[in-house]
Protein backbone atom coordinates (compact mmCIF):
# COMPACT_ATOMS: atom_id res chain seq x y z
CA UNK A 1 0.00 0.00 0.00
CA UNK A 2 1.16 3.54 -0.70
CA UNK A 3 0.22 6.13 1.91
CA UNK A 4 -0.30 9.84 1.46
CA UNK A 5 -0.52 10.89 5.11
CA UNK A 6 -0.12 9.58 8.64
CA UNK A 7 -1.15 11.30 11.90
CA UNK A 8 -0.95 10.72 15.65
CA UNK A 9 -2.71 12.12 18.69
CA UNK A 10 -0.21 11.08 21.32
CA UNK A 11 0.97 7.83 22.93
CA UNK A 12 0.66 6.66 26.52
CA UNK A 13 -1.32 4.62 29.01
CA UNK A 14 -4.38 4.38 26.80
CA UNK A 15 -6.36 1.38 28.00
CA UNK A 16 -9.66 0.18 26.54
CA UNK A 17 -11.03 -0.44 30.05
CA UNK A 18 -10.64 3.27 30.82
CA UNK A 19 -12.29 4.37 27.58
CA UNK A 20 -16.05 4.83 27.14
CA UNK A 21 -17.52 3.90 23.73
CA UNK A 22 -18.52 7.54 23.25
CA UNK A 23 -15.01 8.81 23.94
CA UNK A 24 -13.45 6.16 21.67
CA UNK A 25 -15.82 7.19 18.90
CA UNK A 26 -14.95 10.86 19.45
CA UNK A 27 -11.21 10.14 19.18
CA UNK A 28 -11.66 8.08 16.01
CA UNK A 29 -13.91 10.71 14.45
CA UNK A 30 -11.35 13.44 15.19
CA UNK A 31 -8.49 11.42 13.66
CA UNK A 32 -10.62 10.55 10.61
CA UNK A 33 -11.58 14.19 10.03
CA UNK A 34 -7.97 15.37 10.33
CA UNK A 35 -6.84 12.72 7.82
CA UNK A 36 -9.62 13.58 5.38
CA UNK A 37 -8.85 17.29 5.65
CA UNK A 38 -5.16 16.80 4.88
CA UNK A 39 -5.91 14.32 2.12
CA UNK A 40 -8.38 16.67 0.40
CA UNK A 41 -5.66 19.32 0.27
CA UNK A 42 -3.18 16.85 -1.25
CA UNK A 43 -5.74 15.72 -3.85
CA UNK A 44 -6.41 19.33 -4.85
CA UNK A 45 -2.71 19.89 -5.53
CA UNK A 46 -1.67 21.53 -2.28
CA UNK A 47 1.74 20.80 -0.76
CA UNK A 48 2.53 18.29 1.96
CA UNK A 49 3.35 21.31 4.17
CA UNK A 50 -0.22 22.59 3.74
CA UNK A 51 -1.58 19.13 4.50
CA UNK A 52 0.37 18.56 7.72
CA UNK A 53 -0.33 22.09 8.98
CA UNK A 54 -4.08 21.70 8.34
CA UNK A 55 -4.27 18.28 10.01
CA UNK A 56 -2.31 19.39 13.08
CA UNK A 57 -4.42 22.56 13.39
CA UNK A 58 -7.56 20.42 13.54
CA UNK A 59 -6.07 18.33 16.32
CA UNK A 60 -4.86 21.48 18.16
CA UNK A 61 -8.43 22.83 18.03
CA UNK A 62 -9.88 19.60 19.43
CA UNK A 63 -9.77 19.58 23.29
CA UNK A 64 -9.38 15.79 23.34
CA UNK A 65 -5.69 16.07 22.50
CA UNK A 66 -2.75 17.53 24.45
CA UNK A 67 -2.02 20.37 22.03
CA UNK A 68 -3.59 23.79 21.53
CA UNK A 69 -7.00 23.75 23.20
CA UNK A 70 -6.89 20.92 25.76
CA UNK A 71 -3.19 21.24 26.51
CA UNK A 72 -1.98 20.06 29.90
CA UNK A 73 -1.05 22.54 32.65
CA UNK A 74 2.36 23.40 34.04
CA UNK A 75 3.13 23.29 37.76
CA UNK A 76 2.05 26.91 38.12
CA UNK A 77 -1.22 26.39 36.23
CA UNK A 78 -0.35 27.74 32.78
CA UNK A 79 -0.50 26.22 29.31
CA UNK A 80 2.95 26.35 27.67
CA UNK A 81 2.87 24.94 24.14
CA UNK A 82 5.48 23.93 21.58
CA UNK A 83 5.33 23.07 17.87
CA UNK A 84 7.58 22.38 14.89
CA UNK A 85 7.29 21.90 11.12
CA UNK A 86 9.84 20.79 8.53
CA UNK A 87 9.97 20.84 4.72
CA UNK A 88 11.57 17.68 3.33
CA UNK A 89 12.35 19.33 0.00
CA UNK A 90 14.41 22.27 1.29
CA UNK A 91 15.22 21.00 4.83
CA UNK A 92 13.84 24.31 6.08
CA UNK A 93 12.30 24.11 9.54
CA UNK A 94 10.42 26.29 12.00
CA UNK A 95 9.53 25.84 15.67
CA UNK A 96 8.15 27.68 18.69
CA UNK A 97 8.43 26.67 22.34
CA UNK A 98 6.90 27.86 25.61
CA UNK A 99 4.14 29.93 24.00
CA UNK A 100 0.89 30.68 25.87
CA UNK A 101 -1.38 32.80 23.65
CA UNK A 102 -1.04 31.62 20.03
CA UNK A 103 -4.21 29.80 19.01
CA UNK A 104 -2.40 27.44 16.62
CA UNK A 105 1.25 26.94 17.58
CA UNK A 106 1.92 24.86 14.43
CA UNK A 107 1.05 27.88 12.26
CA UNK A 108 3.47 29.97 14.30
CA UNK A 109 6.15 27.34 13.62
CA UNK A 110 5.43 27.63 9.90
CA UNK A 111 5.66 31.42 10.09
CA UNK A 112 9.06 31.10 11.76
CA UNK A 113 10.15 28.82 8.90
CA UNK A 114 8.81 31.02 6.09
CA UNK A 115 8.91 34.57 7.50
CA UNK A 116 12.07 34.62 9.59
CA UNK A 117 15.69 33.64 9.27
CA UNK A 118 15.47 31.57 12.45
CA UNK A 119 14.48 27.98 13.24
CA UNK A 120 13.36 28.10 16.89
CA UNK A 121 11.80 31.02 18.78
CA UNK A 122 10.68 30.73 22.41
CA UNK A 123 8.43 32.42 24.98
CA UNK A 124 7.43 36.12 24.79
CA UNK A 125 9.67 36.70 21.79
CA UNK A 126 7.94 33.94 19.83
CA UNK A 127 4.56 35.40 20.84
CA UNK A 128 5.62 38.87 19.66
CA UNK A 129 6.83 37.44 16.34
CA UNK A 130 3.55 35.50 15.85
CA UNK A 131 1.51 38.64 16.50
CA UNK A 132 3.57 40.63 14.00
CA UNK A 133 3.24 37.76 11.51
CA UNK A 134 -0.54 38.11 11.74
CA UNK A 135 -1.35 34.88 13.57
CA UNK A 136 -4.44 34.63 15.78
CA UNK A 137 -3.61 35.59 19.39
CA UNK A 138 -6.07 34.44 22.08
CA UNK A 139 -6.52 34.84 25.83
CA UNK A 140 -4.65 31.97 27.54
CA UNK A 141 -7.97 30.92 29.10
CA UNK A 142 -8.96 29.65 25.63
CA UNK A 143 -6.74 26.59 26.10
CA UNK A 144 -8.19 25.54 29.45
CA UNK A 145 -10.30 22.40 29.91
CA UNK A 146 -11.68 21.12 33.22
CA UNK A 147 -10.28 17.65 32.60
CA UNK A 148 -6.68 18.91 32.25
CA UNK A 149 -7.11 21.18 35.28
CA UNK A 150 -8.17 18.18 37.36
CA UNK A 151 -5.12 16.24 36.12
CA UNK A 152 -2.89 19.04 37.39
CA UNK A 153 -4.58 19.06 40.80
CA UNK A 154 -4.03 15.30 41.05
CA UNK A 155 -0.36 15.71 40.09
CA UNK A 156 0.13 18.49 42.65
CA UNK A 157 -1.49 16.33 45.30
CA UNK A 158 0.82 13.42 44.38
CA UNK A 159 3.79 15.79 44.50
CA UNK A 160 2.97 16.86 48.03
CA UNK A 161 2.72 13.24 49.21
CA UNK A 162 5.98 12.30 47.50
CA UNK A 163 7.61 15.43 48.83
CA UNK A 164 6.67 14.54 52.38
CA UNK A 165 7.91 11.00 51.92
CA UNK A 166 11.11 12.20 50.24
CA UNK A 167 11.79 14.77 52.94
CA UNK A 168 11.14 12.22 55.68
CA UNK A 169 13.44 9.72 53.96
CA UNK A 170 16.10 12.33 53.19
CA UNK A 171 15.91 13.73 56.72
CA UNK A 172 16.54 10.24 58.05
CA UNK A 173 19.44 9.81 55.60
CA UNK A 174 20.72 13.26 56.48
CA UNK A 175 20.39 14.61 52.93
CA UNK A 176 17.78 17.04 51.70
CA UNK A 177 17.12 17.30 47.97
CA UNK A 178 15.90 20.89 47.98
CA UNK A 179 13.65 20.60 44.96
CA UNK A 180 12.92 16.85 45.08
CA UNK A 181 12.87 16.03 41.40
CA UNK A 182 10.70 13.11 40.42
CA UNK A 183 11.03 11.31 37.08
Amino acid sequence: KRYAMVIHGGAGTILQKNMTPEKEAAYKAALTLALQTGYNLLKSGHSSLDAVEAAVKMLEDNPLFNAGKGSVFTHDGRNEMDAAIMNGKTLQAGAVAGVTNIKNPVSAARAVMEKSEHVLLTGPGAEQFAKEAGLEIVDPAYFRTEERWKQLQEALHDDSIKATQAHALNDKLGIRNRDYKFG
Binding site: H8, Q16, Y39, H46, S71, T74, A93, T122, A155
Partner: protein, 133 residues
Amino acid sequence: TVGAVALDHAGNLAAATSTGGMTDKKYGRVGDSPIIGAGTYANNNTVAVSCTGWGEFYIRNVVAYDLSAQMEYKGLGVAAAGQSVIRKVGTLGGDGGLIALDKQGHMAMPFNTEGMYRGAITQDGKIEVYIYK
Protein backbone atom coordinates in the same frame (compact mmCIF):
# COMPACT_ATOMS: atom_id res chain seq x y z
CA THR B 1 1.12 15.73 21.57
CA VAL B 2 -0.23 15.57 18.00
CA GLY B 3 1.59 15.19 14.70
CA ALA B 4 1.31 14.61 10.97
CA VAL B 5 3.54 13.51 8.09
CA ALA B 6 2.56 13.78 4.41
CA LEU B 7 3.81 13.05 0.86
CA ASP B 8 2.44 15.23 -1.94
CA HIS B 9 2.03 14.86 -5.72
CA ALA B 10 5.46 16.42 -6.30
CA GLY B 11 7.14 13.83 -4.07
CA ASN B 12 7.77 16.31 -1.27
CA LEU B 13 7.65 15.12 2.34
CA ALA B 14 6.69 17.28 5.33
CA ALA B 15 6.34 16.73 9.08
CA ALA B 16 4.65 18.73 11.85
CA THR B 17 4.25 18.23 15.62
CA SER B 18 2.42 20.25 18.31
CA THR B 19 2.17 19.70 22.05
CA GLY B 20 1.03 21.00 25.42
CA GLY B 21 4.00 19.28 27.06
CA MET B 22 3.85 17.36 30.37
CA THR B 23 1.40 17.92 33.24
CA ASP B 24 2.93 19.72 36.24
CA LYS B 25 6.13 20.62 34.36
CA LYS B 26 8.40 23.27 35.89
CA TYR B 27 11.32 25.57 35.06
CA GLY B 28 10.32 26.15 31.42
CA ARG B 29 10.94 22.48 30.55
CA VAL B 30 10.67 21.80 26.80
CA GLY B 31 10.30 18.29 25.29
CA ASP B 32 11.26 16.90 21.88
CA SER B 33 8.36 18.25 19.77
CA PRO B 34 9.93 21.63 18.81
CA ILE B 35 13.47 20.19 18.57
CA ILE B 36 14.19 19.52 14.89
CA GLY B 37 15.78 16.07 14.54
CA ALA B 38 14.42 14.89 17.90
CA GLY B 39 10.61 15.06 17.68
CA THR B 40 10.14 16.40 14.15
CA TYR B 41 12.13 15.78 10.95
CA ALA B 42 11.56 15.61 7.17
CA ASN B 43 13.97 14.87 4.31
CA ASN B 44 12.85 14.10 0.74
CA ASN B 45 15.70 11.61 0.40
CA THR B 46 14.39 9.42 3.17
CA VAL B 47 11.42 10.05 5.46
CA ALA B 48 9.16 12.42 7.41
CA VAL B 49 8.84 11.72 11.16
CA SER B 50 6.72 13.05 14.07
CA CYS B 51 7.26 11.67 17.58
CA THR B 52 5.30 11.52 20.85
CA GLY B 53 6.38 10.33 24.28
CA TRP B 54 8.86 11.08 27.05
CA GLY B 55 10.62 13.96 25.38
CA GLU B 56 13.94 13.81 27.24
CA PHE B 57 14.68 10.37 25.76
CA TYR B 58 13.74 11.53 22.23
CA ILE B 59 16.06 14.54 22.52
CA ARG B 60 19.03 12.53 23.87
CA ASN B 61 18.61 9.92 21.14
CA VAL B 62 17.84 12.42 18.35
CA VAL B 63 15.13 9.94 17.41
CA ALA B 64 13.56 11.51 14.31
CA TYR B 65 16.93 12.15 12.64
CA ASP B 66 18.29 8.75 13.76
CA LEU B 67 15.42 7.03 11.95
CA SER B 68 16.24 8.95 8.76
CA ALA B 69 19.97 8.21 9.14
CA GLN B 70 19.39 4.47 9.57
CA MET B 71 17.42 4.51 6.31
CA GLU B 72 20.02 6.62 4.48
CA TYR B 73 23.25 5.01 5.73
CA LYS B 74 22.20 1.48 6.67
CA GLY B 75 19.58 1.07 3.95
CA LEU B 76 16.87 0.03 6.43
CA GLY B 77 13.20 0.28 5.45
CA VAL B 78 10.95 2.67 7.36
CA ALA B 79 9.39 -0.08 9.50
CA ALA B 80 12.73 -1.59 10.56
CA ALA B 81 14.26 1.84 11.25
CA GLY B 82 11.18 2.86 13.25
CA GLN B 83 11.34 -0.28 15.38
CA SER B 84 15.07 0.23 15.91
CA VAL B 85 14.78 3.77 17.29
CA ILE B 86 11.76 2.95 19.50
CA ARG B 87 13.70 -0.02 20.89
CA LYS B 88 16.64 2.31 21.70
CA VAL B 89 14.30 4.68 23.58
CA GLY B 90 12.76 1.76 25.49
CA THR B 91 16.12 0.25 26.39
CA LEU B 92 17.08 3.53 28.03
CA GLY B 93 13.82 3.61 30.04
CA GLY B 94 11.84 6.01 27.88
CA ASP B 95 8.44 5.36 26.34
CA GLY B 96 6.37 6.69 23.46
CA GLY B 97 5.86 6.27 19.74
CA LEU B 98 6.25 7.89 16.35
CA ILE B 99 4.78 8.07 12.86
CA ALA B 100 6.94 7.91 9.75
CA LEU B 101 6.28 8.10 5.99
CA ASP B 102 9.00 7.49 3.41
CA LYS B 103 9.45 8.92 -0.06
CA GLN B 104 7.73 5.94 -1.71
CA GLY B 105 4.69 6.16 0.58
CA HIS B 106 5.57 3.33 2.92
CA MET B 107 4.59 4.14 6.54
CA ALA B 108 5.27 2.97 10.10
CA MET B 109 3.60 3.76 13.45
CA PRO B 110 5.70 1.99 16.13
CA PHE B 111 5.19 2.61 19.88
CA ASN B 112 6.08 0.93 23.18
CA THR B 113 3.21 2.22 25.33
CA GLU B 114 -0.24 0.66 25.89
CA GLY B 115 -1.71 2.74 23.11
CA MET B 116 -1.25 5.54 20.60
CA TYR B 117 -3.93 7.59 18.87
CA ARG B 118 -2.97 7.14 15.21
CA GLY B 119 -4.29 6.97 11.67
CA ALA B 120 -3.25 6.85 8.04
CA ILE B 121 -4.78 7.43 4.60
CA THR B 122 -3.63 5.70 1.43
CA GLN B 123 -2.98 7.54 -1.81
CA ASP B 124 -6.35 6.29 -3.08
CA GLY B 125 -8.18 7.56 -0.02
CA LYS B 126 -8.65 4.58 2.28
CA ILE B 127 -8.56 5.59 5.98
CA GLU B 128 -7.26 3.47 8.91
CA VAL B 129 -7.61 4.67 12.53
CA TYR B 130 -6.31 2.88 15.65
CA ILE B 131 -6.01 3.53 19.39
CA TYR B 132 -4.82 0.41 21.19
CA LYS B 133 -1.95 -1.99 20.59
